[in-house]
Amino acid sequence: MPANQAALPIDILEQRSHRDARHERLFRWLLKGCALIVLASLLGAAGATLWGGREAFSAFGWHFLVSSAWDPGNDVYGAVVPVYGTIATSLIALLIAVPISFGIAVYLSEVAPAWLRTPVASAIELLAGIPSIIYGMWGLFVFAPFFANHIKPWLTNNLGNKPDDGKLSWVAEHVPFVGKLFGSDYPFGASILVAGIVLAVMIIPFISSVMREVFQTVPTRLKESAYALGSSTWEVSWDIVLPYTRSAVIGGIFLGLGRALGETMAVTFVLGNAMHLSASLLDPGASIASTIANQFSEATGLQKSSLMALAFLLFVVTFVVLLIARLMLRQLARKEGR
């Protein structure tokens, strides 16, 4: 081959290198175009929902954000009920999921015997792979009835301000707010609390796998020094591992929060879909995603536009939460020199 190539006329060689350069340019543009599609889908989703919600924004203005009305009969809509439901369910989910995920991560990185770590970690990750509609069905048919029969009566009787037997408990009488939070005469399980619990089960694998991963980045010599000074396993986890990985742990929590805010199916099944505000966590409510899923196909005009406006709000809020999550996670990666 080399002998042949040397014999080729110079213009053929030049043609060939021109052709290669042209292909190279084309290929580069093709690749860049595909990468820009990723960017376009992000901007497009924000733009499309903003454009779809323009009628609602111009009709209600800022009032849309502070009004708790949702009245298709009079064509008046406000975002407060679904926004409250979204935030309340997500916060409950975090309150439950963060300590459990931290426990799982500590167990898997410090406590469990080595042979048990991989199988348990894969089992927990299996939870992340289950489609959200399965969580929804389990919540609707299994967990919500279980909750209504076994947990809810205890909560309303011992903590709520509307107990079945009419006798106010000490907590409901003396601790502010608690009575309202757990008082309910709604007979079914579907409620903000149940939605929060189902969401918690959904985001535990996300948060715990991030925590476990970042716990493993802690240099062994740091942990061993602490053990050598006589620290207990708990003290190493709490005083050495956690401060070292703090930013990434917060990143993982925000990642879970981002998931919880935008989750549709698991929540729609167990939230009860009531478009009114209630102080009680045991009453049904609505989230942004569940409201859209329930009403969008039948909505027209201003209602449809209001749903689009809700979607825009949801997209912007999740974007900010996930942005914070990724920035926090990147800080640890920097420290690692990656």
Binding site: F27, I37, V38, V120, P131, I133, M137, A289
Partner: protein, 288 residues
């Protein structure tokens, strides 16, 4: 034993017990969810699931939903795979450490967990609304629109795995090829993507597992159809959408059908993640 020492030991023992309990709680929920899906799903399994369509209601099956799911998922993967692989290649090979490349990589990570229902509304705006106007209402919701919505959800998964897998390819391979005078596009297509092939396939399988359970983006794009639809410009049913519809129905027979559908989806997703894990572990061995 001095009291601070005792207190520390008790705290430690308590923490160990709590962390073990936390793990048991996580595993218990996993077992509970899988057990109910298996129990209720298997007891509802029946041959008519695969032969009859949903138009028969309680005495029908899920055949059209299964076919619809296959078609919509296929469209989604067929759109997302080439775009995702090329975009991931650009991030790893052409734009590593450039400002635009880093920003797109960062935004792609955000897109990974973006709310899927918003993606559904996006596709509703850019495909369902225009086709409705252009065809004067004869084509509104379509299986194709559902496929595009799923493609948008699969895309970031494929971009990310391709990007990561290509960056694992040793740079000596690149240098060897470049020193032989191979143009970079040929190097990328014929050597690098081939070297990272199993990793990229894993990414595609993971993306398929992710989208095959997605419900929210299909509600306003593929919509649903009680009859068998093969043509992607028609409204199309899908398993998750039928599960959603049947689970909200008051009838017990409908619930059984929904459980059967949930069982089929769960098995499909678990098998996919098992397969992708196998592929990945096999490649690791062959590289050693």
């Amino acid at each position: 034993m001095s009291s601070p020492y005792l207190r520390r030991r008790i705290t430690n023992a308590l923490a160990m017990v709590m962390s073990t309990l936390a793990t048991l709680v996580g595993l218990a929920f996993l077992a509970w969810i899988l057990w109910e899906t298996l129990r209720q799903g298997i007891s509802a399994l029946d041959l008519k699931l695969f032969t009859k369509i949903t138009a028969y209601g309680e005495s029908g099956g899920l055949a059209n939903a299964m076919v619809g799911s296959l078609i919509i998922n296929f469209i989604g993967i067929a759109i997302a795979t080439p775009i995702g692989v090329l975009a991931g290649t650009w991030l790893a090979e052409y734009a590593d450490r450039t400002r635009l490349g880093e920003s797109i990589r960062f935004l792609n990570d955000i897109l990974l967990s973006a709310p899927s229902i918003v993606m559904g509304l996006f596709v509703y705006t850019i495909i369902v609304l225009p086709t409705t106007v252009l065809t004067h209402g004869s084509t509104t919701f379509s299986g194709f629109a559902g496929g595009v919505a799923l493609a948008l959800i699969a895309l970031p998964v494929i971009v990310r795995t391709t990007d990561e897998m290509l960056r694992l390819v040793p740079s000596t391979l690149r240098e060897a090829a470049l020193s032989l005078g191979v143009p970079q596009w040929k190097l990328t297509l014929q050597i690098l993507i081939r070297a990272a092939r199993s990793g990229i396939i894993t990414g595609v399988l993971l993306a398929l597992a992710r989208i095959s359970g997605e419900t929210a983006p299909l509600l306003f794009t593929a919509f649903g159809n009680n009859y068998m639809a093969i043509n992607p410009i028609e409204k199309m049913s899908s398993l998750p959408q039928i599960i959603y519809q049947y689970a909200n129905d008051p009838g017990d027979a409908m619930h059984a059908l929904a459980w059967a559908g949930a069982f089929v989806i769960t098995m499909f997703v678990l098998l996919l993640s098992l397969a992708s894990r196998l592929i990945l572990s096999r490649t690791k061995v062959s590289h050693d």
